[in-house]
């Protein structure tokens, strides 16, 4: 009987104590604090942090792999749904059903800004290669600059699973920090006069255009970057659900119930994959630093492209460069930042709707960038 007791005690959490797990538990608690008290992206960070907590508790088997005779831990199966590429596209379906592409259709120039803001991705790629990451890892880190959680997770799971937790946590944390990271970059690159440019009111977009838009985008992207189709295709399908007016039940489920279910599964899986052995490394710190560079350069790319476009535009059509930074997706935070910075300079200026154009274009842009990286390096 004593033997039995000893072996039971040997399996309790306390006996399996390891300092690295303690560090992970502290990190999980800090993330929970940020999410619950500071309200940093609580909908995403709570499941991620809790998954991290559960998988790092001493002796936890919730993320263990299947062995002969015993099935894998629960979160390993959630992770499998991500690994085989099911969860991120489903989130995109919901995002599509929530997104109004009207401001983009009314001002198609926004698409260029959405592409310009992807500069952060490709510059960071160079930085990551120089730091010694291989191309797959570098691509996955760079995609943080797309400021789009599901895109980053999808790219990273396909190309460099081992760094997924660091990439996902960096991506979501920086999205919460958009109002802190972007304004200094935006102000440094623009003059007071540029920041006060008022833009013409957007034209009205007909329902027909809104219905045709997702179909046209899907066909164009499928022809040019087939690897982006799981994300862009689902995004556009969700949008078609919303705009057709005939599939309200589907659009309601995609944007609410389904999206929430998938967020829970994906958050727990990503959090749980942050095991001490792989997470507490120098690489994680490098990824976090590269991530913030990606964000800042992306914002700068959008602003600079807007300034460049202004050289060719008539005075009354000029773009306020502040909306360029909204081209990193992070919908709608980045657009709100453009609005905030613009209103500070010119209280009568309302840039929000103008910024929504590049903002939603950024979602398409970062999915296309992910598709390009996947087609170059995912063999």
């Amino acid at each position: 009987m004593l033997d039995g007791l000893v072996s039971f005690l040997g399996n309790t959490g306390i006996a399996l104590f390891d300092w690295r797990q303690l560090v992970m538990i502290v990190i999980a608690c800090v993330l929970l604090y940020l999410a619950l008290v500071k309200e940093f992206e609580p909908l995403l960070l709570v499941p991620i942090a809790f998954g991290m907590l559960l998988s790092n508790l001493f002796g936890s088997t919730i993320f263990s792999e299947a062995t002969e005779g015993s099935p894998a831990g629960l979160f390993r199966y959630f992770f499998l749904l991500d690994e085989i590429g099911i969860l991120p596209p489903l989130i995109f379906l919901g995002v599509g059903a929530m997104t109004d592409f009207g401001p983009l259709i009314a001002n198609p120039k926004s698409l260029l800004l959405g592409a310009g803001a992807q500069l952060g991705i490709f510059i960071t790629f160079i930085g990551a290669i120089l730091l010694g990451f291989n191309a797959q890892e570098a691509g996955s880190i760079a995609i943080i600059g797309g400021a789009d959680g599901p895109t980053a997770i999808m790219t990273c799971t396909r190309m460099a699973k081992q760094i997924l937790p660091a990439v996902a946590i960096a991506a979501y944390s920086y999205m919460a920090l958009v109002p802190v990271i972007q304004p200094p970059v935006m102000k440094a690159l623009t003059t007071k006069e540029e920041r006060s440019i008022a833009m013409k009111q957007l034209r009205e977009v007909s329902k027909k255009e809104k219905v045709l838009f997702p179909i046209v985008v899907t066909i164009v992207v499928a022809l040019l970057v087939p690897d982006a189709i799981p994300l862009v295709g689902m995004l556009m399908l969700g949008n078609l659900f919303k705009e057709s007016g005939l599939t309200n039940r589907l659009s309601d489920t995609a944007s609410n119930a389904l999206c929430n279910i998938v967020t829970i599964l994906l958050g727990l899986a990503v959090g749980a994959s942050a095991k001490a052995e792989t997470f507490l490394t120098l690489q994680t710190i490098e990824i976090i630093v590269l991530g913030v560079i990606a964000f800042a350069v992306g914002s700068a790319g959008g602003v600079l492209l807007a300034k460049f476009m202004n050289l060719f535009l008539k005075k009354e059509n000029r773009i306020n460069p502040l909306i360029g930074s909204a081209g990193v997706s992070a919908v709608p935070m980045a657009a709100r930042v453009s609005q905030m910075v613009g209103q500070k300079e010119n209280p009568k200026n309302f840039l929000l709707m103008h910024a929504m154009g590049p903002n939603v274009a950024g979602v398409i842009g970062s999915a296309v960038a992910a598709g390009i990286l996947l087609s170059l390096f995912n063999h």
């Binding site: 929530m98 109004d100 983009l104 259709i105 198609p108 120039k109 698409l111 260029l112 959405g114 592409a115 310009g116 992807q118 500069l119 991705i121 490709f122 510059i123 790629f125 160079i126 290669i129 120089l130 291989n134 191309a135 797959q136 570098a138 009111q201 009205e204 007909s206 027909k208 255009e209 045709l212 838009f213 046209v216 985008v217 164009v220 992207v221 040019l224 970057v225 709608p332 709100r336 609005q339 209103q343 209280p347 009568k348 309302f350 929000l352 709707m353 274009a361 398409i364 842009g365 296309v368 960038a369 390009i372 990286l373 170059l376 390096f377 063999h379």
Partner: protein
């Protein structure tokens, strides 16, 4: 073997010189950025073409849809010294912080509006008094609808 393939192989990557790595990364970045631009530019053209085709078809009826847009441009027609605050997007008025006749300073938040799952503040663009509130709490408003009319205070910039 192409430089991109070598970049993505951990073993071959180790054998590459710094110059080769930089070259490979630059090639990737330039290709990536160009393709990204081209794809989105083609979508832009597609939208333009779509719009052009549709407006040509709808040309005879062009007068009708122009009418509802008029209130949006009504702002400059207010009497001198008055300034309207129009909603830039459709949404719902959440809180009104001012009442008619109240004095406001520049930058005071007059109302909060909910649109697209987020809340926006409407600060007063000028100092003055509230001449008219055109919406009540809980009202759904359209893009371009004037929400508040302010009577500008003459002289001093701050009340």
């Amino acid at each position: 073997m192409s430089i991109l393939e070598r970049l993505s192989d951990p073993q071959l990557l180790g054998q590459m010189s710094l110059g080769q790595k930089i070259a490979g990364a630059l090639v990737t970045a330039v290709i990536g950025m160009l393709v990204c631009m081209v794809v989105l530019a083609i979508i832009m053209l597609a939208i333009r073409i779509m719009h052009a085709l549709m407006s040509r078809k709808a040309a005879p009826e062009a007068e009708a849809p122009a009418a509802p847009a008029a209130p949006a441009k009504a702002q400059p027609q207010l009497p001198d010294g008055q300034c309207g605050i129009a909603s830039p997007c459709a949404g719902k008025v959440q809180t009104l912080n001012a009442s008619e006749g109240a004095a406001v300073r520049m930058g005071d938040v007059l109302l909060l509006m909910e649109a697209g799952a987020s809340i926006f503040q409407f600060p007063a663009p000028v100092a003055g008094t509230v001449a008219k509130l055109c919406a009540a709490e809980g009202d759904s408003v359209e893009a371009g609808q004037v929400l508040v009319i302010l009577k500008e205070k003459e002289g001093s910039a701050d009340a």
